[in-house]
């Protein structure tokens, strides 16, 4: 059974304010987003699920005195203003609820493969092999200081009690900085 179903319109309204990219979501995007959120929620303790869903309803109602209408009825920019007030509320429980909700919505959006790809993050298990153009030696123009910086003066800051022939040491490695 869907945990989000009873509050879906509110959750979508909050998502559009917190993650503006969701304003362009098609039905399939919402389905993928909500599957991620549902999956994460389902793993949380039942009490936490109840608290979060209660907070969603509460936030929707608090928007009336704070913004002139429920979250669902407000335009995204107005919703964002209301949510920013909740984020800074003097009552810690309101801040906590806002933080928890945003975290869940970020999870729904920023773990989607197409969103990750669009962000430009290109983590790849093959590492440098997948990105030969990114190797330091392939980009001397980008980092001319690198060649100098990692040279002996840094190595001299470590203790010469070697634990490995290639290396200097563990104990002295945290000799600080000036």
């Amino acid at each position: 059974m869907s945990l989000l179903a009873p509050v879906r319109p509110i959750v979508r309204a909050v998502a559009e304010a917190m993650v503006p990219a969701t304003q362009r979501y098609a039905a399939a995007d919402w389905a993928a987003f909500e599957a991620g959120v549902e999956g994460a929620l389902a793993q949380r303790p039942a009490a936490l699920q109840r608290q979060l869903l209660t907070f969603v309803r509460l936030a929707n109602l608090l928007a009336v005195p704070l913004g002139g209408g429920t979250l669902v009825s407000l335009a995204p920019a107005q919703r964002e203003r209301v949510l920013h007030r909740l984020e800074r509320a003097p009552v810690a429980l309101l801040r906590r609820g806002t933080w928890g909700l945003r975290t869940l919505l970020f999870l729904g959006h920023y773990t989607r493969p197409e969103v990750v790809a669009a962000s430009g993050w290109r983590g790849d298990a093959r590492g440098w092999e997948a990105r030969p153009e990114a190797r330091p030696e392939a980009r001397p123009e980008a980092r001319p200081e690198v060649r100098r910086e990692v040279q002996p003066e840094v190595r001299r800051t470590v203790n010469p009690t070697a634990v490995d022939p290639e290396v200097d040491s563990i104990a002295g490695a945290r000799k600080p900085s000036a």
Partner: protein, 503 residues
Amino acid sequence: MTLTRDVVIIGSGAAGGTVAQALAPLVRAGLRVTLFEQGAQLDDAEFTGRELEMANALFEDGGGVLTADGAMTLAFGRAYGGSTVTYTGTSLVPDAHVFERWAIPTLTHADVTARAARYATENGVHFLRDDEINENNARFADGCRAVGLEAGRFPVNTRGCRGSGLCNLGCPNAAKQGTHRVQLPAAETAGVEVVTRAEVLRVGEREVTVRVSARPPGAKGRESTWAPGEYVVRAAAVVSCGGSMGSTALLLRSGLARALPQLGERYTCHPAHILVAEHAQPIVNDVGFPKSYFLDRPDEGFILETCMYFPFITAKNLTGFGADHQRFLDAFPRLQMILVMAHDRPVPGNRITIDTAGRPVVHYTFTPAVREALVRATRLSARIFFGAGAVRVHAPSADPPLLTRDDLPHLDTRVHARHFLTHRISVSSAHMMGGCGMGADARTSVTDAWGRAHGLPWLRVADSALFPDSSDVNPYLTVMALADRAAEALTADLGALRAGADA
């Protein structure tokens, strides 16, 4: 079902793996040792590097455990290898002043360093080559130099690192030398029995009750070698290696608080911020080892480390939401990151308890000293970021959180403890310490300097729960050294313990 062993080890991380391997020679001579691990053992092909999938597979609650008041996220591993599967592998030993502050008889900097050095060698600890340092890291060193400081290079424990940058999601190339790659396989080869998906429910006088679970449908990891069910395992000695949270909660739910009144106290955790800056041009940040440099500021109460996280974790750790927040995430190829960690001290009230189900609950209040340390660290990080060429810096303890170069002369007012608003800004921890602190006196500690629980000679603790105060640096090598000491003491005591069990 009731079974009998000589030694039971609970947990397979830095401590459990160390103890298991240290006892291996005795196992070859006939000692019966079983290690229980709550998490699963993943096959190499299951390390995909996908953020949500791996977080759910390798971390307790997917890495989303919160403190009792919800103000801090606590990330710790739950897998064959424990948190050594998900740490970055930076290999430091605390400075001598840390052990002077701990003031534990026989626990000296020299002793810890000597023991840690053995494990560092075993784990292939070394410095990265120059051509393995990416721009995210190199710019940190440059930025430090720009403000007149010298960054230190991290020793790391990898073999055959390909630079995936996915360390915190479990290395997909089997390069990181956690206990799942080094100590546990060695122990198993010698005959130590490792049982995964095995949650120890409680410990009693020379016995543990453990529940083995089947692999849930669709979950990663191998089935346990034991059939699902509940077992009672009697043993001459029980060594708790479940980490600060796991060991402390286990002993608390086992009703040992009366015998060990300091259980749960002296909790520290290096509260941390992930700071993010934006450059005008792309920098290489998402390929290469993510954590190559650090800047230690013990007199100011913090340490800075390079880091590079993944989109969701980054989004979560930036303050706020909306268009400004999203613009930062859209600029991922131009981002530089620094992890700032406060050196916190144990204070009354910061402690571990358990809920009605026996799960650990961390009570933690950010002291003024911790808040100020994080604020100072943020100001210095901002200077380093701008010194490295960044155009915008995201500072949690600023409101609004985005800083530009124009803010540089005003950092002391722009970044300020008055903006450290809990539940608005994100604070996280991956270094849980304390709860079963060492010491000479049962009134102020839980174990002696060798991990023997006061008054309960059959019960040993060998993990980060032993720390009587924070380590100020990444703790895994210290944990291995303490576990090595605990194993040494256990080996010395085994004859008497086995005789006691037989009687």
